[in-house]
Symmetry: C2
Subunit: 231 residues, 2 copies
């Protein structure tokens, strides 16, 4: 009977699907790999978990190394553990998604050296990816599509102040579906998590829309219950 842990060549890594919403397009952050295997391929940002860090910490670190951002909304969504998913050995990867506010920010210079660059690429225009990263991306995209229909995570992708049209466009992009303006607004107002501001859009060449903020307190209260199954 085994009383100590076995030692075989196994490691675990983190891969991140980092979503951003910019100029009406949903994008993810991809890196160009700077090391073998798949050197020079596009890939999801990810790396091996250090021995003394939790997987959540590793996910945050990787995000930080690539974007310089901390305290971002991240969720673990699935772990990929097929035997041959990594050509150099047994590597299982825990996948996270993150959502960040882009605000028209440019491509980033990664702090890490495992990536030669990091670029925002529209989800509808992704290149071939290293490893099983396409599968990981698809799985992550499905997850946020599902989640957005019962939790308004969309706010994480928008600037602090946003218009309802921007919010609707984001929903449309994620759900890949046109929505009705009046019904959409009714639904959002009914959630009661929008704070109307005394402010309007600026710099647009047409009628400026009202700006709104997201009310985190009410949000938290609303989605504690989450699941409803009446009497």
């Amino acid at each position: 009977m085994r009383t100590t842990l076995p030692k075989f060549d196994s490691v675990f890594s983190i891969d991140c699907v980092i979503f951003g919403f910019d100029e009406g397009e949903l994008k993810i952050l991809l890196i160009e790999r700077n090391e073998e295997p798949f050197k020079d391929w596009w890939a999801l940002p990810g790396y091996i978990v250090e021995q003394d860090e939790s997987i959540d910490d590793a996910a945050e670190r990787i995000l930080y190394e690539l974007t310089g951002l901390r305290g971002i909304y991240m969720d673990q969504f699935y772990t990929f553990g097929d035997v041959n998913r990594h050509p150099q050995g047994r590597v299982i990867t825990v996948a996270y998604y993150a959502m960040i506010r882009l605000n028209g920010s440019k491509d980033l210079k990664p702090i890490s050296n495992y990536a030669s660059k990091a670029v925002w690429i529209p989800v509808n225009d992704l290149p071939k990816l290293a490893f099983d990263h396409e599968k990981i991306f698809n799985n992550g995209f499905d997850k946020i599509r599902h989640k957005i229909s019962y939790q308004p995570i969309a706010f994480e992708l928008l600037p602090e102040k946003f218009t309802l049209t921007q919010l609707q466009h984001l929903y449309e992009v994620i759900l890949n579906k046109k929505l009705d303006k009046r019904n959409f607004r009714k639904k959002m107002f009914n959630y009661g998590i929008l704070k109307e501001l005394d402010e309007k859009q600026k710099g647009v060449s047409y009628r400026a829309a009202k700006l709104y903020k997201f009310d985190k307190r009410k949000y938290a209260r609303l989605f504690q219950k989450e699941i409803t199954f009446g009497k």
Copy 2:
């Protein structure tokens, strides 16, 4: 720059929350551990993933070793990767839940030797568990509670033929909530995934209820769409 995988003492394991429904109670299968650490403690069935098996395969193997069953509904739900969750080294664990039909079957003799026994224990009456297994269980329970509200996974727990009252009791136990009989039936019939049989319950000391079967084909059709967000 690193070009090969690092080798430090890391392994990954699988833990399973195996649900069963028996005599109106929701239960999970626990083992009594037969090896250190936590020898003689209660724990979730789980073990280290072999080098040449995928994590999904490992989950199925572990379930098989404990129950003798194959082809059971299983879903990966979360990966736990805190640094110190295992006293002997760095072990992350990928958690799965499974649902099996109990049919009043007795406790099982495990085929494996890492467990001295395996016992069905009501979820409302769990002992202290080894490692972080309480956290894992709670997380898994939350997941099925969530999932049952949009996919009728409850059928996986019931015998092939069941009464509506049994089905309702199962929902009530999982949701921890009384449901209204008429509304519940209406809802279930509306799904259109119940096949009414020409048969009744036997061996009960009161009016026997009609038996139903679950229509897998209609189920699959119904839950392909899954998410709805109207026009």
